[in-house]
Symmetry: C2
């Protein structure tokens, strides 16, 4: 029981890793072979020691004097984030935001591919948005289990988000990317990652106020 709870990665570390990747791709493109924590840190306005600590979690060890091998580090981070194999996902809610997300091909870089979308609006059902057909919501549950989908994206209005989440959980989805400004109630082993714009705008708007006051 004591060593059961493996010390897991801090969330801040996970959030920083994509930034490191971005820098590493750039360096590789420019022909570099090795990289030091200082170089990465300067690029991203963080401290070198933090970069080293973060890298430690990926299992990569560097070498004194030369630092880390770029290609090695790239593979390690990609595999650590599970970005080296792509997981299929369903999206529910084909409104403005949902449509945009459907059209954002870049998610495959981040290990996720949205392969179908669902909506309750009969006007939208049957149409094709950015090459993806919109299905009626009733079909999701069945398709989820049949296709072994693990990731669900919620872009419906706040009032419907919990209902959709319940459906997803029923369908076997274990990771939900939620854009609705609601705290979803899900079983313990289900992962919910919230990206409500309200949170970002809260920070931005409050700080702007403080800034303006100061002048």
């Amino acid at each position: 029981m004591t060593k059961n709870q493996v010390t897991s990665v801090p969330k801040p570390t996970l959030r920083r890793l994509p930034g490191y990747l971005q820098v590493l791709y750039e360096l590789k493109k420019n022909g570099s072979i090795d990289v030091s924590s200082t170089i990465i840190a300067n690029e991203l306005n963080v401290k070198p020691i933090q970069v080293r600590k973060d890298i430690e979690f990926t299992g990569i060890v560097g070498r004194p004097k030369t630092g880390y091998v770029i290609t090695e580090l790239i593979s390690a981070i990609e595999s650590f984030l599970n970005w080296d194999n792509i997981t299929d996902a369903f999206l529910v809610g084909a409104g403005h935001l949902g449509s945009a997300i459907l059209g954002y091909e870049n998610f495959t870089k981040y290990g996720v591919k949205i392969i179908a979308a669902f909506d309750v609006d009969s006007e939208k059902v049957g149409t094709v948005i950015h090459g993806k057909e919109i299905f009626p919501l009733e079909k999701m549950l069945d398709l989820c289990s049949r296709m072994h989908i693990h990731i669900g994206v919620i872009t419906v209005p706040a009032e419907n988000a919990q209902y959709v989440a319940d459906l997803m959980v029923q369908g076997g989805i274990t990771a939900i990317w939620n854009f609705a400004p609601v705290e979803l109630q899900v079983p313990e082993n289900t992962i919910v990652e919230n990206t409500p714009f309200s949170q970002s705008l809260a920070v931005l708007s409050h700080k702007l106020k403080e800034n303006i006051k100061r002048n």
Copy 2:
């Protein structure tokens, strides 16, 4: 010098406040007058003491036994977040994501209104997306200063983000909401709030992998 650096709000607190608001609106709609920290906490799966600590920052004091007055708390949070007056914003990059954001009327709830968009693509310039005209990027700098715009939204590809940020800073913008997966270099007093989807997907994807391993 000692008391100069006023202890500012923790970022996590700012991020939680919109959630409290959501709950408060709901309670008010249902006719409640007062609310205790426990009620809010249960709704959002957090601890009551955390809610009380967060509320303290808004300046509202509650009353033993009855708790907080809902309407009072709502106004206090809204004004604390500066959501009670709407700040105009410019958006640069009218691609998929940019278009979606232009169509998302809800931002006014969060104190921000995007009033114009810019793009380098001459195909897009002159078109109207969700009721907003797209202007050539060259015009932004001038319009920024003339209209006293303070908030800029960046939805251009990674490689152009820094260039756009520089332009915005030049134009007098002091708060940037950045969707590009790049660390922007800006003057010290400029606020940057990053919302790269890569960060969210890093957390989601890694945890999903861990979850699957566990079974």
